[in-house]
Symmetry: D2
Subunit: 453 residues, 4 copies
């Protein structure tokens, strides 16, 4: 038996390869399936079963494409959203991978169709060795409950609670929890940093076990997590098991400065550098979306077929950036600036700088205009006095509704400065004259015990 976790960075997604006796199951593949084929090859096995816990909302699934490349069958549940499956399992159904016994468990709540899959070392085992929990049970958290319907989030949280207690709790404390996401995913909040976890660990630390059903439902059901617009596209493409990758490494053309200037003129430019670099200099009207933020904020700022141009730190960053975008279905990456921003400014092209500010300096300002672009729950947990709030995802639409003076300095903040960078670029595009990123963000601000409200 072999187990490998294959992480898709940026979306903190975990796919799992479980191999035994010349067979292997791959749980919840994302679009770039080559990593799974490589992993199977390195273990001397082949993927024979593709197993889905639910219809993913936050990334393009790779089930259909992986099935085509391997000939493996897709195993999932008997619900409409699983229509592309080859083997449609009912709660309690079992199948074999090598000598391992896999039992399907219907665990609704995060989504109505959510399934978990318990793994038994042999047919007689009383307790599970592990359980693939999808977005039902994370390390230290559960999946969000608002996706099926925002106004039924509390009820769905109760359904998660029931699924966990009725289907998972009895699998044995020793069972490894193998979820579909880790810390950083938009599918949950407050996940534990524990690299491995067991059911016993979750019973000790996870709210779904430590709180009552009522308390858990209220807490989880009242989380307000934004729902990026690209989720709708994901829902659609994933109904058919997702899409094959479109862009391969090297496919995004590196343009000379002149070519890039011509081609990107009037188009959407994503500058993937860190906020410090963007502050030091950037192409006018470009969006600042740091590399790791592309598979979330790239999707807030573009439609599925929007042409996108990239400005990076260097050419080696182009393929990872395009990969991040492709994970959420943004395939129309038309080109990148060869040599990164440096090439642009060395060619004598016009560019702009923006500001950065330290917490200490901000704390010394009188009546600064502060814009906090974090999520509502984060904002409510403590923010800079008199800060205005607008989640970064909504900022482009709402920028003109804010009570901000475009001709006075605006300080933008978030957790540590990444999302604020996105916000800075949106304000600059909207005509603000002096926009500064509070580098270190609320993390630094709170560390310094500066006032919050």
């Amino acid at each position: 038996m072999e187990l490998k976790r294959i992480v898709t960075p940026g979306i903190a997604h975990y796919a799992w390869l479980l191999a035994d006796g010349g067979e292997a199951m791959l749980v919840d593949p994302a679009r770039h399936v080559q990593a799974y084929l490589d992993a199977a090859r390195s273990l001397g096995t082949r993927i024979t079963h593709i197993v889905e816990t639910h219809r993913q909302e936050d990334f393009v699934m790779g089930s259909a494409w992986l099935a085509k490349r391997t000939g493996a069958k897709i195993y999932n549940g008997n619900f409409d959203t699983f229509g592309h499956g080859d083997v449609r399992l009912e709660d309690g159904d079992t199948f074999r991978v090598g000598k391992l016994l896999i039992r399907a468990l219907h665990t609704p709540g995060h989504t109505p169709e959510s399934m978990s899959y318990a793994v038994y070392e042999d047919a007689d085992a009383k307790t599970a060795w592990a359980v693939f929990t999808g977005d039902t049970l994370f390390f230290g958290d559960t999946g969000r409950s608002d996706l099926p319907a925002e106004d039924q989030s509390v009820e769905n949280a109760g359904r998660i609670y029931d699924s966990v207690h009725s289907k998972l709790a009895s699998l044995g404390d020793a069972a490894l929890i193998l979820p579909a996401h880790g810390p950083g995913s938009v599918c949950g909040s407050g996940m534990a940093e524990r690299p491995w976890s067991t059911l016993g660990d979750e019973k000790t630390y996870n709210n779904v076990f430590t709180l009552s059903r009522e308390a858990f439902s209220q807490k989880k059901g009242n989380e307000r997590i934004p729902r990026p617009p690209y989720f709708r596209t994901m829902e659609k493409v994933n109904l058919a098991g997702g899409l094959p990758p479109k862009l391969r490494p090297g496919d995004v053309a590196l343009h000379t400065v002149d070519d890039f200037a011509n081609a990107s003129s009037g188009q959407r430019i994503y500058d993937t550098r860190l906020p410090e670099g963007f502050a030091g200099g950037h192409i006018a009207d470009s969006y600042s979306v740091w590399e790791g933020g592309l598979p979330v904020f790239g999707g807030w700022l573009a439609e599925a077929d929007s042409p996108i141009y990239l400005v990076t730190d260097g050419d080696a960053d182009v393929d990872p950036a395009a990969r991040h975008l492709s994970n959420i279905g943004l395939d129309n990456v038309r080109g990148a600036l060869a040599g990164g921003f440096e090439a642009w400014r060395n060619a004598g092209r016009e560019w702009e700088s923006s500001g950065s500010i330290s917490p200490q300096a901000l704390n010394n300002m009188d009546n600064p205009q502060v814009l906090d672009v974090r999520e509502s729950d984060e904002f409510d947990s403590g923010h800079i006095p008199n800060a205005q709030h607008c989640y970064v995802g909504y900022l482009e639409d709402k920028v003109n509704e804010l009570s901000l003076d475009k001709n006075q300095p605006v300080i933008v903040t978030c957790g540590v400065g990444h999302r604020a960078g996105v916000g800075v670029s949106i304000l600059l595009r909207a005509g603000f004259k002096d926009v500064r990123n509070l580098l270190g963000g609320m993390k630094a601000w709170k560390t310094l015990d500066f006032p919050t409200e």
Copy 2:
């Protein structure tokens, strides 16, 4: 300016990437174009020109696929076999890559349409910095002259001579020679091991310069180099600029022993291990084709659509083997034995061994039956007394015409033992009882000064 040589192993093929000023030309792409895109990316450039020297016969070209992935135009000559080109050049036509000037030169002989491309650092340069010579001029050799028509090989050799002398000789002794093949290719013979060469070097060492036209034509035109049957397929697919790759890494399924036994039963199995390992044990009726020999001898033993099963040293050898086969259009690789031959014998499956013999031991045998499977020119240059001759490529068809006693030991030899390994497996399939590979082959035999005739 940057220059990179990208080698396709097994066929000793050189593609060349020449970059300047944000543009790059890729000369003579083979099918697996990812390597060219990676190379361009690493140089911070993109491929804008795809340049062809001739319609290749020994591998699947990648021009059309590379054009599709990059948007680059295909540059070639004004001949029927170049019909898929975007820019059809006449002798003397020029184009630019960055500030470099490229001049097309019609250099027929190896094939009627063969082109060379001289590179000048600037428009005023009197001598060329380099010249892409395709199969017209190699390091220490020229391309073979028999391909257009076997009975006009001497005439075509003369055409090569004329092309070299009229078009290339005047480019300047300092010009780098950048050919399409290196030592080991089936497109030439006797290439020099020199890693880089200039026109000056060739003038010193190459027969096309050191011999008279008459002497060169006779020598080159009378070489007898086999023409593998897959050449016909290559000619066809390359008329359209070749094919995209079909199998990606990891696509060849690793089968358990039972699955492999069932699937491969009655099918073509290629055992890619070295001859020593094959002698020590192999699956009955499998062909012994060492890994590096797949893109030649794999093509003698199969049709383009023949199902093929692989037995390797280990799982890491499966993808390279499939890659080799795909280079000559053999895409129907149905599976590989997980764990290699070792898995087979450990599972208690039946297998066979065959023999190996040292030159010393053979020299002590009385009247051994020796079969020499080298090419005719090699055989004629000196062979073991009384050895029979049949080129390995023809052996399967002609094995029953040979005067060999199937019930007596047969010793098979070639250069060092690789091709002999192919021959051994063909004889075993034909019912020979005791077949032994002369490991070290004629190289060892001659080193030991054993008798030849």
Copy 3:
């Protein structure tokens, strides 16, 4: 918190890197510590604690060298064999790595000083998140109990039982078991193939929990596992925390055939190819030790300072082979044959072949001479009728005491044919004329239901 397992292949050794809050502990480093530094770097942390579970016997430890390179302190127990430690812990002592609490547990039995280290997520945790068990508790097994004194093996097995039950059993079923070895180690037998395990899993499957103290002690204490001679050297060098590596990649010189022949004449040659290749051809008097077997059988056949020469499949196999040998302190690797065995035979040098035989063929032989070179427990569990037995490690010393006719065929067998390959080469060196390896070994033999006794 991050956890990484770093495996040393060949000895199935697990080192563990556990990082939290800018600190990291490395448990049981082997000699080639670069892998640990690379792992720490990739996690953005540095190694601050080196933790030892016991004085290793089967490989050169890397504690002292890792301490020198990192400045980290060595944590171990208060026993003589731990004299090189910086922090000498008593049973129950605790220390911190980031916010994690580590508790030292004295768990003697495998060796008198054996320690385990329980990991708690915070100081208030009632159950452990994981426990580093060294050679005390493996997945599905415990460490061997014969090392401290062969005649007290049963008593020591009882001590292991007591350690597990008194110190580990109460840590909580959810605790991950993090041992120093996996399947394939000479430090245990019959380990489970489970890739991860918890205390709960072990309680279900491990003899130390499923058997009574008496039954476990008798079973474990009566195992007869050979003790390779290099263990004595390991005991000595590991008293001081082991040794730095001596050979780096590329340090083993690749010799031409002539140079190799001169240098290796009369010296110890290890041929690291698979038995099939060795059977097909090998240098006379060389030992056949397949690559993965070097860190065990390489040590049975050489002293710590013995000069060793390598024959491999190819040049890429030279460094891994030298690495394997260095893991058990064999640093005097003087050179390797450039191009592997193939270069040798192509140069016309003399060589020999030996035989391989299938189970089916052996089963048809009348009164074959069979030599079984497995361990005593393996032999006793079922062997070919009339087979003689001599463990491969003792064979060179005892070959002349066996009742074997050197002029008649001898069939050598083991599990699948690797150790038999070592045995074949020892018999050939001893003057046996016709030695054949039963490829597939007893695994294949039993699969075929051929007779055993």
Copy 4:
């Protein structure tokens, strides 16, 4: 025959590996010799000859260490600075590498002992296949002539001219030129971007051929190239054949923010990010030295044993930065900030930002204070009107001699902004209040046709 160029980035150094017949020569090894051993291994050969063209001034040589690891002999000339050589060659002496003939040529000028080594394919060859030219002849340039004595630079340029014409010119136009440096080295100026060059190419384009002796001597001899202070250390350590590396990958400890703040307090911090990032935010009093500039400007700002702390973009940049410093003997790298500058500002630590300015914005300023930190020749070739000049290497010593108002904005410029970044950080350390980097530098300025004088 095989030839490989192994580049040391940052110092644009070329080492050359030339292999034939189981032997190989390595010309001009730098300190990190592992790359050479890896290259030899990949070619199936071993390094038997280490060949030196001269005592290097700009990096730590690796001859002695490579000799120790390989057992190879060091070949150089019969001059005092070559005292560590094993084989001391006179002009015209020859030796063999495989079947290749190597002829030593004394080519003084760059340094008195400078040697070149011509390569002949065989003993009878009339023209050389290639020539290793060290710093005597580059692509499009020659080595600088001021090193032996600044006041004899013109005379030494004449000596270079004589060496080239008397010793190299007759080797044949087809000879490949294989020098010790490429574009970007401090050992020359104005090298051609040609990736390969022949003697014929040089005769066409290189001043040493296209100018008269007098004209060349005056031009080359009057170049004013700064001589970094670490050259003196290099001269000393290279007298003994250089030094082994001290730091290996992973050896630079990654510190938490608190640890880094404590340890680096009052110490030299090198911030290796691009100038844009440094402008956006940096630790007060840190030096801005972009990664690629470390092996030059790192040496202007520190002594050989100065403790150095690193701030990078991310942890993956730490080892490359330390490697750059080690190439010029700066081995006392005490630690790096884990997580880069981002970790620092997220922890709430104080930091500063500085300014960047575009050419367009500068062009609109009235009477700006501009400081140009390029070399004298660059400054004289055209600078911004009224700019002051001080080469960046001298700036720390001379900053208080400049006529700059510390309380008014200062714009710093160089070629494109890298060296200006170093200058910015020096001015900030000296108490300047508002310092701005002209990103794009004089390259952008001139592209825009803004006024120069």
